[in-house]
């Protein structure tokens, strides 16, 4: 048995050394971590328009290509729910680095009420000159958060593509919203508004989609995740309405 003071000394020394090592490592790798995180969300954003990019296989897209697309074909802005574009200065004051949509803390924004949110919007110009608008929605799945980027065609009604992601859905069930490409493809060509101009969004329908414009098939075994997507599209995309109306003219 050793004296308490010698045990204390040992533990203190050990923890200090460990803390030093980890602090140095964390600091040294920080820039790489930030870069990876940013690249990951950029990739997710343009995944919504994957079919309209000039790359052959989106799953093998390189970091340089993602950066180039963001530099040349993407115009990003941050909207407020009254339909105006937030100025870079205003965003800087709110703590958004560079006033860029890609630096918004979307998790934090989602916790605010719809009226107070900053909304990211990416305007993608295809090489043939067509414009696509990528909007963002975030909600709850079965276990944790789910979110997605939704690309709209220039009529700001028809969906050109989507990409969903999740924090902790079950692999093979809820996680299919990200992994099952065939399921994700269903969203292409669906419409947000019905003929009367009412906002309907897309319903993930258990038992098979019947409405050709506003419903997609649910994933069997993932009812709650599917309902989460229905809800998040319905609740979050409404916030973009005032701005999208100005595009429609």
């Amino acid at each position: 048995m050793r004296s308490t003071s010698s045990v204390l000394l040992f533990v203190l020394t050990l923890t200090s050394i460990v803390a030093l090592i980890l602090a140095f490592l964390q600091n040294g790798l920080k820039s790489k971590h930030d870069f990876n995180e940013a690249m990951y969300s950029k990739k997710a954003t343009i995944a919504a328009v994957a079919n309209h990019l000039d790359v052959e296989d989106f799953s093998k897209i390189s970091e340089a290509e993602v950066t180039e697309i963001f530099d040349k074909q993407i115009k990003q802005m941050v909207l407020k729910s009254d339909g105006t574009v937030a100025t870079p200065e205003e965003l800087q004051d709110a703590g958004v680095r560079g006033g860029l949509a890609e630096n918004l803390d979307l998790k934090k924004e989602n916790k605010k009420s719809v009226e107070e949110r900053y909304l990211p919007l990416y305007e993608f110009t295809k090489s043939d000159g067509n414009k696509y608008y990528i909007v963002y929605a975030r909600g709850k799945g079965l276990w944790d958060e789910i979110w997605g980027n939704i690309a709209l065609e220039s009529d700001v009604n028809t969906i050109a593509g989507v990409s969903f992601d999740h924090k902790a859905e079950t692999p093979g069930l809820g996680a299919e919203i990200k992994d099952n490409k065939a399921w994700v493809r269903q969203f292409i060509g669906k419409k947000l508004y019905d003929n009367d101009g009412t906002f309907r969004a897309i319903d993930v329908k258990k038992g098979g989609a019947k409405d050709p414009y506003h419903e997609v098939d649910a994933i069997s075994g993932a009812t709650i995740t599917g309902d989460g997507i229905t809800d998040m599209l319905l609740e979050d995309l409404v916030a973009y309405e005032p701005y999208l109306k100005t595009i429609k003219g």
Binding site: M1, R2, S6, V7, F10, V11, L14, T15, V18, I21, L22, L25, Q26, L29, K32, H33, N36, M39, Y40, A168, T170, P171, G172, L173
Partner: protein
């Protein structure tokens, strides 16, 4: 000359029968998963695909090896009253290192494994080896023991993952082998020979890992009579 040779033999690093046993025992006769039934939690969770299983296996080998060496080097200095906590600090540090490095250099794997990388800390194989072996043996022997146990765990992980990935998704290491679309090497929609084949979705889910590991344990015992419990 003969004397110095003997001295060298006793003190230098060598690889004799005893050392080989330290390294190979955990691969077969004393495998951490199939014989000691440790580390099952992560073996269930990360074996849906070969890629994740490989990253996990490498991470556990790394943690197991270095935790054993460090603990063994410090074994005389570690106060007995707090030895468990000290071991935990060592493991947690190494796991955090793994996590930080993965996040910087293998981001895709990090995204898929993140929770389970953290859970290496609670992997009973690592702590078990520290408490049972490294606290009582020299760093070199501990290194062999750590390496052996890490690899023994990794091998089973890869076997389970290979079975689950192939029968569940029709893939091996992400290469599409058999499935219902033209992207696969054998397209079940067009092939007349394999038209009946369908991927078993159960294999993707966690329960299948239970069956697969149980079958592996049975196969291991059937193959290695030393493991059969006669009592």
């Amino acid at each position: 000359m003969a004397d110095t040779a003997v001295v060298e033999k006793n003190q230098g690093i060598q690889f004799g029968k005893k050392e080989r046993k330290l390294l190979t025992d955990p691969l077969n006769d004393n495998n951490p998963i199939t014989v000691q039934v440790l580390g099952i939690c992560s073996a269930l969770a990360v074996t849906t695909g070969m890629k994740n299983a490989t990253v996990m296996a490498v991470a556990v080998v790394f943690v197991c090896l270095f935790a054993n060496v460090i603990t063994s080097a410090l074994r005389k200095a570690i106060p007995k009253q707090v030895r468990m906590i000290v071991q935990l600090v060592i493991i947690a540090t190494l796991v955090t290192v793994v996590e930080l490095v993965l996040k910087a250099y293998a981001f895709e794997s990090y995204k898929q494994l993140s929770v389970f990388i953290g859970l290496i800390i609670t992997n009973c194989i690592v702590m078990g080896r520290l408490e049972a072996f490294a606290m009582a043996n020299k760093p070199y022997e501990s290194a062999l023991d750590g390496l052996g146990n890490g690899i023994g765990y990794g091998i089973i992980l890869l076997m389970v993952a290979a079975i689950r990935e192939f029968f569940g998704k029709g893939e091996f290491y992400g290469y599409k082998i058999i499935g219902p679309s033209p992207e696969y090497a054998i397209n079940t929609l067009e092939s007349s020979l394999f038209g009946w084949y369908q991927g078993n979705n159960l294999m993707v889910l966690f329960p299948s890992a239970m069956f697969v590991i149980a079958v592996l344990i049975w196969a291991h015992r059937a193959w290695n009579p030393k493991l059969v419990d006669v009592s």
